[in-house]
Structure formats: structure tokens, C-alpha cells
Symmetry: C2
Subunit: 297 residues, 2 copies
């Protein structure tokens, strides 16, 4: 189910003829409902497994993740599960059009619909708490607004200090001329190819395409897909975007093969995923050691 | 299920990174087993529907098609259903490699495995009859070897007569110089684009890609995909191949939208499908009226 659903999502962005969107929403919605039904059918076995003493770490992980999915599907009714899928997919082509035309009004009704459904979802998940906490938990297990406020209230002033100090020392270079000009798409494609090699992306286990907004998606342990875009202004957006997506992809590509068909065979949270993508994009990609590899001085 | 399964099949040929084949076989196999289970769950409702007097033609069609699928899934055990999917998908990359290297030995073990499984399948479907009849019925409902022998024994001598007469009259042109030369792929791509327009292929409802062997597949009523290839010898293979696939696609694209989520929303048989593809390829494409549209004299 995850394999099929991921591929349907990828194809929606990359290949699908426009008129196919309506049936795609229907298909994704049906797959998600089937997944809900199949997960709920696991209630008994999971409860049993949860009581076993002799589970190893991998097995405990599976129980933990399935319990989490079970909690979601038990609380959110099938009607809403289906509608959320359909509304998200229906919004895809209008979003692309709105972006292309810089016209928010095209996307607005879709965003309103999705927001309304997400509020309902939050309410089913936790009727008494702050709705954002319920949604945050879906990406970052257990994290709350209070936690986030604490983190950021400490981080922001410190970061501002560092920034002020760095700027005052004038060690940042002026804007480079390359950042201002329109670039040649084919030349940048060659640079990006080189970056994929430098980052050790394994040829037979991934592919790269172009999409409106760059993303990364795992279809299977040996089939991870990334996208990039060529606008063609500001080559850094394309180049660092690619490294960012490589970071997501490398994280997924390094999951133990023994777990490949287990529900644990994916990143643990949005935050950890983002730490991997930003590690490659910022810590590696913008380092003094890496830049000369693609821009010989 | 059909939507997802078709897309997984298409992607296997067009996009999938090589290493993804094993998980793809697994995924397709699981989808097919789910489809078997869901179809068998329809046994009661279909038997009920079959007894109703007041069904219209569309409803009768649905009952007929589901009964046919039910018959298949009731007779062929899940283990074999899954193995057939897996074996077919596992053979795809080796087949491409064998074709590329003109080395049958790469594909041979896969063909042997599939043949063995198809024999088992035939045996489950009809243990007492000729195995080929059981398999023929899957593509062409009710047709038997005896029927085919009768058709061909009448057709072949007549066709030979027509061919001999035509050749003796010397009305066929000599081979054209264009047929012998290597063609420029980009130029032929432009010709093919023009052909898609001439055949009225609806822009937003289909897409075209390149694959090892040309094929056509319906993902949904408004999402039909065709492929072509550029070898680049003998432009006719690419050009008429494209028209052939357009024929398949136009047949699927013209199915009534009201049926789009019904099991009847597809071609009725391999033979009728082929009649449509060959109509566009041969009757239209090779006609005195069509050729001047792409090759002005």
C-alpha cells in the first residue's frame, strides 16, 4: 500500500496528464481507506504483541509504529480520511497554476478546504487540546507548542547575536555576480549531475526529475526519487535544493535492508529528516571544503 | 487497485531505478492478492445481482465482468496469483538486458519460470481441457484453438492469393531510400508529434514516453499513456508503432465517462483492442490519404 501510494503521489507531480487528477484523487482516497481498514484489522495482533516480553528492538519498533497508526485510524473516521486525500490531490494542479500565475485566488478555496479538514482531523485526534499539538504530533511524535516555544525562545536571541557579530566583522563576501544572472539550464544540469556523484547517490537506486517544487520520496528501499527545478534565476536555489533533497534521499537509502518491508523502514520524524537534508545542504554543501569541488577557484 | 496496479506497471517500464524491481514485484504481487480477496468477497452480492430481472445493459455488463474475474480468482490459488505477478516483474529488467545484448540466455530462465507458472494456471482453470484454451480465454472470452484453426485455415490461402496477385502486378513501389538510412531522432520526434495531433490525441488526457518495447496502458479514463521507441533505423517502426499505440489509446479514451469506475471501463478483448490499433496503423496510417499529410509529395 505504501509503495503504491507513494508512487501515485510521485507520479501526480511528475507525469500525470492534467485531466487524470480527479481519478487519481479517487484512487489515493480508496488506497488510504483500505490502509485504514487493514491497520484496524491489526488491533488484536498488535495488542498481543505489545504484551510479549521477548521482543527485540526491531520488533518493538514495529509494534510502536503500528500502534501509532492504529491510534490515528481509530480516531479519524473513514469519511474524513478519504476526504483529506481527495482534497490534497485536487489542490495540486490549481496550486501549480496559482504559483505559475502568482495568483493566490486560484489556490485559496483549496487551502480553505484543506484547513477545514485538518481542523476536523485535529478535533478527532484530541478534542480537548490545542489543535496544532494534535497535528504537530503527526510529524514529530510527542512534540508540543510549549516545547517549541521553549526551544525557539532560547535559540532566536542567541542566533541574532551570532548573526550581528558575523555581519559586523564583514567577513561575508559581497554578492557574487553569478547569483544575479540568468543561468544556462543545461550547464547547471551538468553541475547538478556532478553533485549527485560527489554525494555518492547510488545510480541504480534513485532517480531525479524536475517538478514545480523540489521534493524527495521513497517508493522502496532501493527506489528513492528526488526532484529539482530550474527557474532559471539564482542557480543556488536549484543546486542547494538538489543537495537538500539528496540529504532526505540518503537518509532513506541508508535504512537497514532487513527492515525494508517493515513499517519502521522510513525516517523517524519530519525534524530528523530535515536535519539530514540540511546537513548535506548547509554543513556540507556550503562548506569551504565542498564549494571548490564544484567551483574551482 | 486497477489504477495503482496499472501505474506500477507503467512506471516499471518507464522510470523505475533498476534496483527497485524486487520491491516492485512484491508490491504488485500484494496488490493482486488483495484484488483476489476483494473480488472473492463480492461472491454473494454478485450472485444476488445476477438473479435480478431489472438490470440495464451497463449493470448486466458489470455482473458479467465481475463473474468472470470471480471465476478466475476462485480457481487459481493465491500462492500462484502472487507468484505469477512476481515472476513477470522479475523478468522485466533481464528481458531488456537480453534484448539489448541479443543474448537469449539472460531471459531464458525467466521465460521458463513464467511458462511453468502459466501451465499451472491453465491447469487450475481447466484441468481437463487443452491448456492453451484456458489461457486464450483470458484474452479472448470463449475463443478456442478449434475456432482459431478454422479462421486461419480459411484466411491464410486467400491472403496468399491476394499477396501473389498484388506482387505479380508490380504495383508496390521499390523500397524508399528513407527506409534504409539512419534517421535523426529529433526530426522523427517532430513528425511523431504531428501525428499525435492529426490523430486527435487529447493533450490533457494522455502522455507519451520512450520504452524498450512500445505499449499503451490506461491508468484512468482521462489518463492513458503510450510509448514509442527510436532505434534509430527504419523510421517506419517508430512512426507506425506510435500510430498503433494511439489506436489502443483512442479506444480506451472513448469509453463512456459514466463507466469510468466500473470494471467494464476498458476494452472488451485483446482481439478487439488489436483491431483498433491496427485500424489506425494500417487502414488510416498507410492510406493514400494519410501519407501525404506527413510526407508531402
Amino acid at each position: 500500500m505504501t509503495h503504491a501510494s507513494s508512487l501515485l503521489g510521485w507520479d501526480l507531480e511528475i507525469n500525470m496528464p492534467e485531466a487524470g487528477a480527479s481519478a487519481r484523487g479517487q484512487a489515493q482516497s480508496e488506497i488510504e481507506l483500505l490502509r485504514q481498514k487493514m491497520t484496524i484489522d491489526l488491533t488484536g495482533p498488535v495488542e498481543k504483541a505489545d504484551k510479549l516480553k521477548a521482543l527485540n528492538d526491531a520488533e518493538k519498533g514495529v509494534v510502536r509504529v503500528v500502534k501509532r497508526e492504529l491510534n490515528y485510524y481509530q480516531k479519524v473516521p473513514p469519511k474524513l480520511v478519504g476526504e483529506l486525500q481527495k482534497a490534497t490531490i485536487d489542490s495540486n494542479i490549481p496550486w501549480r497554476e496559482a504559483r505559475k500565475k502568482s495568483d493566490f485566488s486560484i489556490f485559496k478555496p483549496h487551502l480553505e478546504k484543506i484547513t477545514e479538514l485538518k481542523r476536523e482531523e485535529a478535533n478527532y485526534l484530541d478534542p480537548s487540546g490545542n489543535p496544532y499539538n494534535a497535528l504537530l504530533d503527526l510529524s514529530e511524535e510527542g512534540l508540543t507548542i510549549t516545547d517549541l516555544d521553549k526551544v525557539f525562545s532560547e535559540l532566536v536571541p542567541q542566533l541574532k547575536k551570532i548573526l550581528a557579530k558575523t555581519l559586523s566583522q564583514g567577513v561575508f563576501p559581497e554578492k557574487h555576480a553569478l547569483e544575479e544572472i540568468d543561468y544556462d539550464v543545461n550547464s547547471l544540469k551538468q553541475v547538478n549531475e556532478k553533485i549527485l556523484q560527489l554525494l555518492g547517490m547510488p545510480d541504480k537506486r534513485f532517480r531525479q526529475d524536475v517538478s514545480t517544487h523540489p521534493f524527495s520520496i521513497k517508493i522502496a528501499s532501493d527506489d528513492v526519487r528526488i526532484t529539482t527545478r530550474y527557474e532559471p534565476k539564482d542557480f543556488k536555489a536549484s543546486m542547494f535544493g538538489l543537495m537538500h533533497e539528496c540529504g532526505h534521499a540518503l537518509y532513506e537509502l541508508q535504512v537497514d535492508h532487513e527492515l525494508q518491508f517493515a513499517p519502521t523502514a522510513t525516517g523517524v520524524s519530519a525534524g530528523v529528516h530535515e536535519s539530514q537534508s540540511r546537513f548535506w545542504e548547509n554543513i556540507v554543501g556550503r562548506s569551504k571544503e565542498f564549494v571548490p569541488l564544484v567551483y574551482p577557484s
